[in-house]
Chain length 452, copies 2
């Protein structure tokens, strides 16, 4: 690659209307430039973490604040990294809401960590595209192994783990829960349509509760499914979806000629932290051959602690399970862990086999091509991040980290109970007590305690 | 956050069956630990780039090579970064196919760069979740601005730029083309179904050619659209989709009671680098109110050079346009740039409005909430990467970088022509001549020249 030698200095003299013939151009991956700038950015971010708790958590800017600070057009000539970092400091930092601040309590907590960041860096630096095994065997194999590790720590049934399910089940890393729900929903849809004919898509019906995350309705919308049931829950039942409510809704739908295909059960709902009773729901679902997906977006992390594992009791009856490691598991955005019992159901809907991707390894069926387990073709080396988190902290430290949050939440709940202006919103079982309390502290501590 | 002080040493003594009460746990974002490890990873990657050209480009491992090198379970106790990096060196590097090698010519080229990596680092380090404006105004506003910059450099019609379209059009950063196609397809589908009723989904039909990327068929599958036309192309027409072939296919479909909704036209197909004639195709589409998406996944980058801009002549008739900056624009994976003329068509299909995301800024309609332009809810601060690429290299350097590849491709094409064992596959126009030649060198130079 002799032509790609570094020569930034005379590139700006060229005229766009007269392309040069064999001009020497810059080397975009010059190792020494990489080293220099990399160290600068690391120091920039380390300094940011040192002072982040001093910033107002929520950005104070007004809509359209940024345009007046930036030029109208992209620069024609290169600008030094020093000027760019100055602009980040002056114009970008004031415009961000500081998810990495220890005073941040909105939505879900910032779950970035040293290990999560280092894993992301390695993945971005190696910059492999792991759509199939051959395009980077390590990217595929590490993902399968790490998902088996994590599945074991969560005490998922053997059918969800690749190795111990005789390669029928297994885990995959996606970006977000929305993707996990969409992929499994499409798999469930197509499984049913292959039996009853594709023209019956209008008859399909899917189930959640009025507490289910909005991404469920969106996934159904994207998948072309028009019948979405948001079954009513009650405060007296801690806003959990009751099996008999599900059953009566199904009965009514079936009587009307509709065909049930999918239930999205939630462990730790966003608004009320309710936990749907998996065992009873799966029993109902089984009778109607309904695919059960369990969305434990934030609460799933806590299940690595033996004392909280009961939150997902009944998971053995489900078809798929997902949680977001970027929510409460020290993994930088984005990292959604999805396990399925039958990955053929996914690949039947999502696989493609264009001529330019054919290779002996795929044809041998001895390898996984994760492109067929997800929406997109291209994918990063996702597993490095989760691997570094598990190794850098170790499972016991991760458990203690989660426990420390639960302890803080219990303390906070005690404070809330002392204040007559507040009430705990739902009768709590021991398990979601801690999760609800955790959510309380995450969502309200900021305004209650005036910590920012 | 007093409880989060660093105390890695005694955490491993705990027993998982007896949760500690108010134990001090590790600080997952300790700035000095971040600084130390960050510098180590930067050096690790810089060293990797120094020697990457010495490795065999394609990994030489056999399926299931990795399990025997790794433990069966996740570690209970923390491991130092030094041990982890040793394992990366010994067990991961031999298992990757080196997309960053200068000798890599498969699929599309490694498009990582110093600037792309630094942008990704900043985004991962700030770790903001930019689903709506309020969650980090800078993440939204920089994206809108940078996409206006890049749209202007590409000379996209004003209707595709946010500012100059009176805020009707605009750009968004997604992960891959698959997402761009799925989002626009769903928008087109729902626009039609809102007129004719959702029960008519089985009548909808979408169009591409037999050269269109496989992600088009997959997106249609996900969106529940069963009628997908892969219109035949011919070598004599350089494998481009002819407008009269499109028209006769539409005629036949309409006669059979089907309803045309979407055309995926391609500028630079994967297998044969053909360029569909946008102007003629858009004329046909307009007559039938068909949404035209233009997929210029790799070739779009070249259109920043005035001499290659004619590849997308006719784009003014399209509804949406996308290209992948991670393919040929020095941006690390993943970065798909999508522009639309009417972002309301996207948000009508993809918006959600759960109680926990409501806020004054969104309700004022003065801001963009990009969650409603994409499949997922969560999203990273995507624009930093592209902003750093544009600023660090400058538009003129980027043009020269692309031109240097085209020049190499022309040289290579000359060599191919001299060798009687090879023929150029299609009659070439001047514009896709260079793109086809570029693809040739990318895909075949390795085996032809024996460079690895």
């Amino acid at each position: 690659m002799e032509m790609n030698t570094l020569n930034n200095n005379n590139n700006n003299q060229s005229d766009s209307s007269s392309p040069p013939q064999r001009k020497r151009v810059m080397n975009p991956v010059d190792p020494e430039e990489f080293r220099k700038q990399g160290h600068m950015i690391i120091d920039f971010l380390a300094d940011y973490y040192t002072k982040v708790s001093n910033f107002p958590v929520r950005s104070q800017v007004e809509p359209d604040y940024l345009r007046k600070h930036l030029p109208d057009s992209a620069p024609l000539v290169p600008e030094p990294i020093e000027s760019i970092l100055e602009d980040v400091q002056e114009h970008i930092i004031p415009g961000i809401t500081h998810w990495m601040s220890p005073n941040y309590y909105a939505y879900f907590p910032s779950s970035g960590s040293v290990a999560g960041f280092m894993g992301e860096m390695l993945s971005s630096g190696l910059n492999v595209v792991g759509f199939n095994w051959i395009s980077s065997p390590a990217a595929t194999e590490l993902e399968t192994i790490v998902m088996d590790w994590l599945g074991e720590v969560l005490k998922l049934p053997q059918q969800f783990l690749y190795k111990s399910s005789n390669n029928n089940g297994g885990g995959v890393l996606l970006g977000t829960t929305c993707e996990a729900v969409l992929c499994t929903l499409v798999a469930a849809r197509d499984k049913k349509l292959s039996q009853i004919g594709r023209n019956n898509i209008g008859k399909l019906v899917v189930y959640g509760s009025d507490q289910t995350h909005s991404s469920f309705g969106k996934a159904a919308q994207i998948a072309g499914i028009q019948n979405v049931r948001a079954i009513k829950t009650k405060r007296s039942n801690s806003f959990a979806l009751k099996a008999d409510s599900l059953l009566s809704t199904i009965h009514s739908d079936v009587k009307n000629g509709l065909i049930p295909i999918y239930l999205c059960a939630t462990v730790g709902t966003t608004a009320t932290t309710s936990i749907d009773p998996l065992m009873e729901l799966c029993d109902v679902a089984k009778e109607y051959e309904i695919w059960v997906h369990v969305d434990a977006a934030y609460a799933g992390s806590a299940c690595i602690c033996p004392e909280f594992r009961s939150c997902i009791d009944g998971i053995e009856g489900a078809n798929s399970f997902s949680f977001n490691a970027h929510k409460w598991f020290l993994t930088n955005l984005a990292c959604c862990c999805l396990w399925v019992k039958d990955h053929n159901a996914l690949t039947k809907s999502l696989s493609t086999n264009p001529e330019f991707l054919r290779n002996k390894a795929s044809e041998s069926k001895q390898v996984i091509d994760y492109k067929d387990w997800q929406i997109t073709l291209s994918r990063k080396f996702n597993a490095l991040k989760l691997w570094l988190v598990l190794r850098s902290y170790g499972v016991e430290n991760l458990r203690n980290f989660l426990r420390s949050h639960v302890n803080m939440a219990m303390t906070f709940e005690g404070l809330v109970k002392l204040d007559k202006r507040f009430a705990i919103g739902a009768t709590l079982t021991e398990e979601h007590h801690v999760i609800m309390a955790w959510k309380l502290i995450q969502e309200h501590a900021d305004s209650l305690l005036g910590s920012s």
